[in-house]
Symmetry: C2
Subunit: 230 residues, 2 copies
């Protein structure tokens, strides 16, 4: 939709991968709609995933005992967060929709993207107890997980060895994104593309492109435990 702003947080090492193509299609399709699309290409940026003292510029609030959460919160209040974090926070603040594009690693996102969550969603910026969940500071924004899996759909079903795929969505969709106030759009999941025929892979790209055409009309999911576990 013209004028909407989208941030794609993208974590794959290889532009020729299916993740790379899914990201490229989102940029193309959303730009065509007149959206303003920004990509944080984490591997390309060599994004730092570790939460360390380096994230705070200048003196610490409590130099005697380093508490990352407290230090980042204080640094946010005083404008002393490191430049790369301020840059990412600006992109988040501007965006109406965040798309996370990644290959599932160990039932979760790759460490480089987990580090983006750990470092960017600082207290004061993204949440500030009791301002969390429905009153999280990033409310009125949408978030969507778009990812590929190694295992096939049967493995990630009720009764499959890896359990219902929704079980692993909980920490990411509820614990990270909903906690900060985001409304969650249904995930876009490409199961086992490495074992798929070329035609099936093409179909995965086409489905994503088709979905994006009407993405702004979608209703967020009802982010309660019932959605995940019943």
């Amino acid at each position: 939709m013209a004028g909407k702003k989208v941030l794609i947080v993208y974590a794959h090492q290889e532009p020729k991968s299916l993740n790379g193509s899914l990201k490229a299609i989102a940029v193309e399709e959303l730009s065509k709609q007149g959206c303003n699309v920004v990509v944080s290409d984490l591997y390309e940026m060599q994004f730092e995933p570790r939460t360390t003292r380096k994230d705070i510029v200048g003196n610490l609030y409590n130099p005697k005992e380093f508490n990352y959460g407290v230090e980042a919160w204080e640094a946010w209040k005083n404008g002393h967060l490191s430049e790369d974090l301020i840059e990412e926070q600006k992109k988040v603040k501007e965006a109406n929709l965040l798309i996370f594009q990644f290959p599932l690693y160990w039932f979760s996102m790759p460490a480089i993207m987990k580090g983006w969550m750990d470092r960017v969603f600082v207290q004061g910026f993204a949440h500030d107890f009791p301002k969390c969940y429905d009153s999280g500071l990033l409310k009125n924004k949408l978030a969507l997980l778009s990812f590929t899996t190694g295992g096939d759909k049967g493995m990630y079903s009720d009764g499959g060895v890896s359990g219902d795929i929704r079980y692993l969505l909980w920490p990411m969709q509820h614990g990270m994104l909903h906690f900060c106030g985001f409304s969650i759009l249904a995930p876009q999941i490409c199961f086992a593309p490495e074992y798929a025929a070329q035609e099936e892979r093409r179909q995965m790209l086409t489905s994503w492109q088709q979905r994006l055409k009407t993405i702004w009309e979608e209703e967020p999911i009802n982010c309660t435990p019932e959605w995940y576990y019943k």
Copy 2:
């Protein structure tokens, strides 16, 4: 138990933290029992969490399209993984019990520890389809998550805003550890130590120490979806 080998994978920036104390107590108590205890202090080691081309020494298997999983697998087979990974894999191979000590970040482990999972548990070393879950390559080893939370126990209960704590254990205990064959000991959870009185914090340390005295007699949990969701 004398002669047993334990690897503690530890992720906290501050030795004076409760996580630091929990780690120190485990080293002390298990050493006293005659166990051989090794610690991977991830922040101290400046452990690299990102999965990149640098993990493969020398030529790539497919230089035209980088696929981390495939490259790491091939590198493992040919002894071409980077030195820091080989070092961690040796520690894992030796260990009877792995303890992961960390503060919960976003319903999961900090990125630096997620990166340890992403990089160390390489196909061929930790799993090799269909050798996964009960037949994972690290079977006959025990794993235990020991962590602190920001939210209190009420938030992480059935009906609490953050849901039953077991929901967030699933990806870590089942998707990462059980997948590689580990038997899982019940997690050790310290709820909201930052809001606890000094006496309560002391109690958290004592409980852990007491539990460790009989840790080798514990039965693993029954790692099925029912344990997590029913």
